[in-house]
Amino acid sequence: MSAHAGTIDHHHDHTTTTGIPNKKLFMWAFLASDCMFFAALISTHVIYRLHPTPDGPDPKKIFSIELTSFSTFILLMSSLLMALAVSASQKGKVEATRKMILGTIAFGLIFLGCQVYEFSHFVHLGLTLSSSMFGSTFYTLTGTHGVHVAIGVVWLVLTYIRTFKPANEAKAWIIRSIVQFVAFAVAVVSIMVMMLAVTHAGAEHGYSLSSVLHALQTNFITSVSTAAFAVSTALLFVLGRSTGEVDFGEVNAIDVEGMGLYWHFVDIVWIIIFTVVYLLEYL
């Protein structure tokens, strides 16, 4: 949208000494720090797995490798979308950036949904934070990772909303942004509730369309969620249509890129967790 779009060089910023944009440098330094963070956390888990306690559970009996593989795959794909979002933003393609961000959000949410399901399932099996050492380290490690993902999703949502900020600040964009954010929140919570209800129903009565529909209609909370989900997605859809010139363009690509670095890092942490926490148990 700006006249000089073609001249922004995304790998160099000539106002800084090294040519690396400040935000990018900040992000990389932060990620270096985060390496230590996860190293400490993962080490804790492994150390306790190295010397299990007599009464500890057998993770193999608890884990569902299918589910975890699926969510690992989902997270990898979200990384792809994120990378594409960064590319798009660097080319000043606001519309494409939005789509890719929405995709990343969706995949991130699926991952989180899987984790919520996984956790609730494990708790059902008797594995809790305090039931055994394995529970403590497992939930703390994967939970911390999950929190990172959740923060990433919130960040993505905020960036998505940010792309709608009009060039003319006089417009009532704040109210609009708040509505958009709340709609997101409602949509996410309601779909999580629905999915849980559906999976429970499926587990109890078999995965048929009728049992799913039945589950969504009979329970008060789930039917409210269904309605809320419908309304909020509709709202998001309406608000998601472009409205005139926006204050978002190539100069903001660095923000998207920083967010991308974070998101990818969370992804590679999961690569390690998947191998160390899940796969190694099957040896």
């Binding site: 800084t16 330094a29 720090s33």
Partner: protein
């Protein structure tokens, strides 16, 4: 960010008009008064805030130390109860390390580093303000225990599990003091890491033209290394604290022995942080000394590249020696031997620094002004502390020294004789720069000598006490152990030291109010921070971003005045044609966000989780507001005399 700013404000025409911004995004503009301090993004003001609060906490920690010494002056004293004594040394150490020395170093980083690299501010000015307010929040949380029923934290400054578990906390009161300690350190960690990330970006990216890395002043190098140490070591303690917090609040069993927990894991995680931490405390001090010695010897630093490189080596090795604090935990022979040798290795790069400082003195013209006295005192005392460190590093000898007063002697020599001496030197050295006034030689030197003598009288006997079997962290000792005279002398020394510190503080307050007014560069200094146009420096630091031609940039300027003046004229015009001097705008959001952390933290430690979420919401709103507020910024234009006129909001 800077790029985004430049393009959006200088090349585009839609810079926000004040009237079009929603009210809560209006940026505060006060330059004086309370609001200017609460919303400041100026690295110099933030540095001053750090300085004032850290000196205050230094007095608090010192007061606690005096109470400790009163209790220990005679055997079986009843001045403090055991419980209160335990709170006292825990808080003394925590206060001194996290609330006095680290933030005092941060004060110097903030104030000096941007000046030394010829920048107008740090890379992320609002984040810098945030780091300070978060520090204050953490400091408050750590100390509120004194005013609560459960008392202040009492598990020692390294809080070994499982003494910190709920089972062994205070026997009757539902004990929240350990929760306060956990939360306080956690929040202080956030502050330090954020501040350090900012410094790293600033040093790497915001250097003035011509300032290559190998021309950086040594203090800036040490800032960089310290920042790296902080961002890489704090995560370990963060995880340890998270695990402890989960144990205490959510029933996990990380350190719960009956469920297979390993308290030794806490020690590893703590010291993976803890040992780099002690270098976090000393490297800034070494940086300051490396500025003072050349100035008062009127010679460049001897072996600059080696001093810098050794700093890096110290930092790097510092990550591989943590278990020397755990020689007595039964690590086994191999691990003990490995850590013993690695620890000894650190003496080499540290020694290199000492040798180079002596090399700097050699052949110079040594002016023993007050800052120089403290700097020389630093070399002597730090060296002695280092040698007792080497004695510790021999694990079999350490089996007799660990947790005895010998350790107490070691670390006070490196911490006071090292860090504090250098920081006190720095305060005197930079006083003329910051306040335009200078300490009186007589009173300055008097305070030095009283401190120097008091310090040695206090801590030298502790070597003997330790070797004579006196364990540390003991509120009482029997009179028949041969420790009476040593303790009494130490206590007397502490009061001499207290008097010295008292004189020191009176002197700086007096100097601030009535001291001799000096012009720029009273010490005939060498590095760029002294090249500011006036003392105290103007808000924009330099009228013209300086161009650097040599390592001791200011010394070079002083010897090449004509070229520099021409160059500056040229650059001033260029800068003006680009729209003037770009300055960051003030903001409310850093302090708002930090308040959220404070509120959330306090409620969390008292297990009011719902209210704590309220704090979290404030944090969230603060961050969102911060992001949507945008970096802002305005431009200054200098008139003929160098007086700034600023242009807010409108098209620059």
């Amino acid at each position: 960010m800077e790029a985004a700013l430049k393009t959006s404000y200088t090349e585009k025409d839609h810079a926000p008009k004040p009237s079009s911004r929603p009210w809560f995004f209006t940026r505060p503009t006060a330059k004086t008064g309370l609001i200017s301090w609460l919303t400041t993004v100026d690295h110099k003001k933030i540095g001053l805030l750090y300085g004032i609060f850290s000196l205050f906490f230094f007095l608090v920690g010192g007061f606690e130390a005096l109470l400790i010494r009163v209790q220990l002056a005679v055997p079986n004293n009843t001045f403090l109860t055991h419980q209160l004594y335990n709170e006292m040394f825990t808080m003394h150490a925590t206060t001194m390390i996290f609330l006095a020395v680290m933030p005092l170093s941060a004060a110097f980083f903030n104030y000096l580093m941007p000046l030394q690299i010829g920048a107008r501010d740090v890379a992320f000015p609002r984040l810098n303000g945030f780091a300070f307010w978060v520090f204050l929040a953490g400091a408050i949380i750590l100390n509120v225990g004194w005013f609560a029923k459960s008392g202040a934290p009492d598990a020692g400054w390294f809080g070994y599990a499982p003494l910190t578990s709920t089972a062994y906390s205070n026997q009757f009161a539902g004990d929240s003091s350990t929760d306060l300690w956990v939360m306080g350190l956690q929040i202080l960690g956030v502050s330090s890491v954020i501040g350090s990330l900012n410094f790293i970006v600033t040093i790497v990216n915001m250097r003035a033209p011509g300032l290559t890395m190998m021309r950086l002043p040594v203090f800036t190098w040490m800032t960089l290394f310290t920042a790296f140490l902080i961002i890489l070591s704090f995560p370990a303690i963060t995880i340890a604290l998270v695990e402890l917090m989960m144990d205490r609040s959510f029933g996990t069993s990380f350190f719960e022995v009956s469920k297979g927990g390993l308290p030794i894991l806490w020690q590893h995680l703590f010291w993976i942080f803890g040992h780099p931490e002690v270098y976090i405390l000393i490297l800034p001090a070494m940086g300051i000394v490396s500025e003072i010695l050349p100035t008062f010897s009127r010679k460049p630093l001897f072996g600059y590249p080696i001093v810098v490189f050794s700093g890096a080596v110290i930092g790097f090795l510092g990550f591989g020696v943590w278990s020397h604090h755990m020689f007595t935990t039964g690590l086994g022979t191999m691990a003990t031997a490995a850590f013993s040798l690695a620890t000894m290795a650190i003496a080499v790069p540290t020694g290199v620094k000492i040798f180079n400082w002596i090399g700097t003195l050699w052949g110079g013209q040594i002016h023993t002004r007050t800052p120089m006295m403290f700097a020389l005192g630093f070399i002597w005392m730090f060296m002695m502390g280092g040698f007792s460190g080497v004695m510790h590093s021999a694990a079999p000898a350490d089996a007799q020294q660990q947790d005895s007063y010998f350790v107490v002697a070691h670390f006070h020599y490196v911490l006071i004789g090292g860090s504090i001496f250098a920081l006190l030197a720095g305060v005197h050295f930079y006083f003329p720069l910051v306040f335009g006034r200078m300490v009186s030689e007589f009173w300055g030197k008097l305070s030095f000598w009283v401190i120097f003598i008091g310090f040695n009288v206090t801590f030298f006997p502790m070597h003997f006490l330790g070797l004579n079997g006196m364990p540390r962290r003991t509120a009482v000792y029997d009179g028949n152990m041969g420790w009476n005279s040593g303790n009494l002398i130490a206590s007397i020394g502490a009061f001499i030291l207290g008097v010295g510190i008292f004189i020191y503080f009176v002197v700086i307050v007096y100097t601030y109010l009535k001291g001799k007014i000096v012009s720029r560069d009273p010490w005939d200094a060498r590095t760029l921070e002294w090249a500011v146009p006036t003392v105290p420096p103007p808000e924009h630091n330099f009228h013209v971003t300086p161009t650097i031609h040599a390592r001791d940039a200011f010394w070079y300027q002083k010897t090449h005045t004509k070229e520099i003046a021409e160059e500056n004229d040229k650059h001033a015009k260029e800068e003006e044609s680009h729209g003037g001097i770009h300055m960051p705008s003030q903001s409310w959001f850093p302090i708002i966000t930090a308040c959220g952390l404070l509120i959330g933290g306090l409620f969390f430690t008292h297990h009011h989780f719902l209210a704590a979420i309220g704090g979290g919401v404030i944090v969230f709103l603060g961050v969102v507001g911060w992001a949507f507020e945008g970096p802002g910024g305005y431009h200054l234009h200098l008139d003929k005399d160098g007086n700034p006129t600023d242009s807010h909001g409108d098209k620059h």
